[in-house]
């Protein structure tokens, strides 16, 4: 774990020790709620059901997302790559 984690302070963070195959690893998921438009793409592309949609009364379409369990993440990066709004950072 030598890489520098560069997640701005206003991001929400989730962390967990994970296992990818046999390899022990650690994941830090950063999420920018203000930028999130609740499109649900991260929920759809994640192969491990790490993300879920939740109600958000302050958003125009009434929803955002959150991490259910960071320990399930396998760092495939699909959510980070496919979020159209620059809201997810996986380290």
């Amino acid at each position: 774990m030598s890489e520098k984690i560069n997640i701005p302070d206003h991001y929400r963070r989730w962390e967990a020790d994970i296992k990818i195959g046999k390899k022990e690893d650690h994941v830090t998921i950063g999420y920018w709620r203000d930028g999130c438009k609740g499109c649900g793409i991260c929920v759809d592309v994640c192969p491990k059901q790490v993300w879920e949609i939740i109600e958000a009364k302050d958003k125009w379409n009434g929803q955002v997302v959150q991490v259910t369990d960071a320990a399930k993440c396998i760092k495939c990066m699909l959510c980070e790559v496919h979020c159209p709004d620059f809201c997810i950072k996986i380290y």
Partner: protein
């Protein structure tokens, strides 16, 4: 490891104006990662667009950017490349911008094989103006101008680019962000005119009229129609109707036959143009002696 998009964005303009889940954001991100793969100085990049939802991208990118008139992105870009041949010129265009109003400029930029990279975000419609049908709206689909279903046959932008003389041509979709990044990177590396088509969802304007008004079902509609080029080669035309053929349409393998690469350009335009400038300068120096 997370990618630092902030390095290439005007963060005071983000969140962008695109609808929740709009495919353009996914393509823009692939584009920024591709630029990063090249390791270029931001000041050496000129990023040009026309008009449309797709064409709003220059507002968000922190480099030399130009938001031009509808369909004319390639003409402005050509001017930049001729005046500043050392700049890396990238054009970001919609299907309407590149192949409807700008179709003429498109084929001639391909023909000249100018060393620039064009990324076409093909969402099968005019997203910005209310979802009219475009030259890539599939037959049978509804748009605000084809309420009973479209009857106009479509352009295959990749085959069109190839026939017109572009020298790197590839297509992928918003479901494959990393593949888009790879193709755009190859386009940027390529010397000559490169065209990368990114099939994308406009669920708000196009999807909504075709029972897929949310980003997920529009993305799935694209995914179920993707066919890799190698597989498509052995399929009948009728089987390929309404399919999205993905892959690299022109690579520079020397073993390619004439028909596979029949219109392979003989030279790159920027260099040829520099040659003309030098000739003219020599001639006028001679006359002034």
């Amino acid at each position: 490891m997370a990618f630092e998009y902030e390095k290439y964005l005007r963060m005071d303009k983000i969140p962008h104006l695109w609808c929740p889940g709009c495919g353009i954001g996914v393509v823009l991100k692939a584009m920024l990662r591709a630029i990063d793969n090249m390791g270029w100085d931001k000041n050496d990049i000129a990023f040009v667009s026309g008009i449309g939802c797709t064409s709003r991208a220059p507002g968000y990118i922190d480099c030399n950017t130009l938001h031009t008139t509808h369909g004319r992105a390639l003409t402005f870009a050509t001017g930049i490349k001729m005046a500043k041949p050392a700049k890396h010129v990238i054009i970001f265009s919609g299907d309407g911008d590149a192949t409807a109003i700008g179709g003429n400029h498109f084929i001639h930029a391909c023909r000249r094989n100018i060393d620039m990279t064009l990324v076409v975000v093909n969402n099968n419609t005019y997203g910005m103006t209310g979802g009219q049908h475009s030259p890539t709206t599939p037959i049978g689909y509804k748009t605000s101008t084809t309420s009973y279903g479209n009857i106009d046959p479509t352009f295959d932008i990749c085959l069109l680019a190839k026939a017109a003389g572009a020298s790197y041509v590839a297509r992928s979709t918003v479901n494959k962000g990393k593949v888009l990044e790879k193709y755009i990177t190859k386009g940027l590396e390529h010397k000559g005119f490169s065209v990368i088509v990114a099939t994308a969802n406009c669920h708000t304007q196009f999807g909504r009229k075709n029972k897929m008004g949310d980003p997920i079902s529009s993305r799935k509609w694209i995914e179920t129609r993707e066919i890799p080029l190698d597989k498509a080669r052995n399929m009948k035309a009728a089987e390929l109707e309404d399919k999205i053929i993905t892959g690299e349409f022109i690579s520079e393998e020397p073993e390619q036959t004439y028909w596979e690469n029949y219109n392979h350009p003989i030279h790159e335009y920027t260099e040829a143009y520099q040659g003309i400038i030098e000739k003219a300068q020599k001639k006028s120096e001679g006359e002034n002696k």
